[in-house]
């Protein structure tokens, strides 16, 4: 039985996390993400979970990583300035292969920018923001329902690939209230434990090692230094470093088609919109209002790893139109993977694209 509710995006995110088994939240207040922390502060103590308000976002992500090593599903939520502060420890989670979920309710940047206005300006930061090379997963909901479903999915992906996973939402979806269907139970795919007798950082065929939970007798040493399969620091062996980093990138990139989550509309279209997050809603309106124009639409619910093969699902495309609430961050990634001309439609300032604006761009390309 599903339950029908009318719920705010941020609340849906918190409820989804709880349904997925999240029992640790470390956070620091920041608009427009604060409702997630507030909801967790109310709910977690009654569910045998832990809520802790840390002294800053560096501490928040650190506490989340620490909690994860005890086996807990753990998360934090923030926005631009806090996300920037988390970058060093996000790299630590990548290097130590620590599953955790980081929600970024994006607002206008750079710097303090527009605390109460929506943006998608951190899409490259979540991919490349910490130093060094690595692979990452970023999910982008376009509705409150998707916020719920993708937050659950984020926890499963984090445990499956042993990486920090980003829910890259924004002020629009975070603060919007919509009807959603909440299922009785959600699918939870737990972490694969390390098999006894296997070295702690020896990866399986999928590039992911089993998880040696603290307190279970593994005696594992976890370090952000380049390490061998025993987990021991080995920071000057060029081949070892290269192999480790290549695995960290490939375990995610090689699985990008398994990870991909997209909706295709009108695959034989010539003019195709590509969106993630809120611009998805505007494009749906354009398609709805202009059925005779036969526009195509690709919605990416997971932007990283970028599922480049799906671009081929529009064999007649003459143009890809990419409306984004930033200066054209993912348009460039799309350009990298296609010979079809890409029309970036950036919109800064916090307001959504209007259907008329997008229709005009499409008409000009006819």
């Amino acid at each position: 039985m599903t339950k029908i509710e009318f719920m705010q995006g941020n609340t849906a995110c918190a409820e989804a996390a709880l349904a997925a088994g999240c029992r640790f939240f470390g956070g620091y207040p920041i608009t427009p993400s604060t409702e997630i922390a507030e909801h967790m502060a109310r709910r977690l103590p009654k569910m045998d979970g832990v809520f802790v308000q840390m002294e800053d976002e560096i501490g928040s992500i650190a506490s989340v990583i620490g909690a994860s090593w005890t086996g807990a599903r753990a998360m934090t939520a923030t926005s631009g300035p806090g996300f920037s502060l988390m970058m060093e420890n996000i790299g630590y989670a990548v290097m130590t292969e620590t599953p955790c979920v980081i929600v970024n309710i994006q607002r206008g940047g750079p710097s303090t920018g527009q605390p109460t206005m929506a943006a998608q300006g951190d899409m490259l930061q979540c991919r490349f923001g910490s130093h060094g090379d690595y692979g990452t997963i970023a999910l982008c909901p376009a509705s409150v329902q998707e916020m719920y479903d993708l937050t659950v999915k984020a926890f499963n992906l984090a445990d499956r690939f042993r990486i920090p996973v980003f829910v890259m939402s924004d002020e629009v979806v975070g603060h919007m209230r919509e009807r959603i269907e909440i299922p009785d139970t959600v699918t939870v795919v737990p972490r694969r434990p390390l098999e006894k007798g296997t070295l702690p950082f020896t990866a399986g065929a999928d590039g992911v090692p089993g998880f040696p939970e603290f307190g279970k007798g593994y005696g594992v040493h976890v370090t952000g230094l380049t390490h061998d399969e025993r987990g021991y620091p080995e920071a000057t062996d060029p081949a070892l470093h290269a192999a480790l980093v290549e695995r960290l990138v490939r375990k995610v990139e090689d699985a990008r088609h398994e990870i991909a989550d997209v909706t295709l509309t009108q695959p034989d279209a010539e003019i195709v919109f590509i969106t993630y997050g809120p611009p998805t809603r505007t494009v749906r309106q354009v398609l709805h209002d202009n059925p005779e124009k036969a526009f195509g639409h690709l919605q990416l619910r997971i932007v990283w790893p970028f599922p480049e093969d799906v671009l081929g699902a529009f064999p007649h495309a003459r143009a890809f139109i990419v409306p984004e609430m930033n200066f054209g961050q993912i348009a460039r990634e799309i350009e990298r993977h296609t010979c079809v001309p890409v029309k970036s439609v950036p919109k800064l300032g916090g307001e959504l694209h209007t259907p008329d604006e997008l229709l005009a761009v499409a008409e000009a390309l006819r």
Binding site: G59, A62, Y92, G219, G224
Partner: protein, 262 residues
């Protein structure tokens, strides 16, 4: 103490310089852990970045070698998520007092049930001898070539003020007292802070006329002033020399603590 149970022999040789004081502090800590009857499987060592923070890598328990200054925030997550684990943090004066200062204050305030052993060598050892918040006035480092001109941070006083349940300072010379203090710290519910003044012949001693390892140990021994004696001197109006530091137990109390197993 059975070293085989606690040390990763397959990680030898270790990175510490000949004569470094860190080894003494690690020994005292493991001695105290063993006296407590703690076992490997439920004990976790956590650290930040620095020579001192390399300690957990040589110990056979689960261990988390984290980022510079952040060990206490990681430890907060570990301890709150699983209070059954005994958590000990190794840190250095730069790691704890400079980049990690804010986490230090708040871990003391929360009075989270962990024990912190800080190896204070008055210098940034790992990066080759830059000044730290604990470098004494006038001391030479690579970033204070004309002598340190900033005042020293009294880490133990900070821990007392910020709310830790147990605070003590000893040196690598006072191994018996240090071991006892760490044991009391492990045994005290809430935040315990043990500051161990240690010699760093390589990055500190060499530049400050304390070339021999024994010179710096002697320096620590002769500059340590028993807390009770210091208080008596102050009561009697005697001046306490500016380059001396108090050793002993600064506080033992029972403020409400977080992360204590109920």
């Amino acid at each position: 103490m059975s070293f085989k149970d606690w040390f990763r022999e397959d990680r030898l040789p270790h990175i510490f310089c000949t004569g470094c004081g860190n080894g003494t502090v690690i020994n005292c800590t493991l001695e105290a852990v063993e006296e407590m009857g703690w076992i490997r499987d439920t004990t976790v060592f956590i650290s930040g970045i620095g020579c001192s923070s390399r300690a957990p890598g040589y110990i056979t328990t689960d261990s988390l070698h984290t980022t510079h200054g952040r060990a206490l925030a990681f430890a907060t997550g570990v301890k709150l998520a699983n209070p059954r684990l005994n958590v000990v943090v190794f840190t250095g004066d730069g790691d704890l007092a400079a980049i990690g200062g804010n986490h230090f204050i708040h871990a003391c305030r929360r009075n989270i049930d962990i024990t912190v052993v800080c190896m204070n060598n008055m210098i940034y050892g790992m990066t080759g001898g830059q000044g730290s918040p604990c470098t004494p006035p006038g001391a030479i480092s690579t970033t204070t070539p004309y002598g340190m001109c900033e005042p020293v941070f009294d880490l133990s006083a900070l821990a007392v003020t910020a709310g830790a349940n147990y605070v003590a300072r000893w040196t690598s010379y006072h191994v018996t007292e240090l071991t006892k203090a760490i044991k009391v710290g492990l045994d005290t519910p809430g935040f315990s802070f043990i500051e161990a003044m240690v010699q760093c012949p390589t990055a500190y001693g060499r530049r400050n006329k304390l070339r021999q390892v024994s010179d710096m140990v002697t320096y620590l021994k002769t500059h340590a002033l028993l807390l009770q004696k210091k208080q008596r001197m102050e009561e009697e109006g005697e001046t306490v020399p500016a380059d001396m530091f108090a050793v002993g137990e600064f506080v033992r109390r029972d403020r409400p603590a977080m992360g204590v197993l109920k």
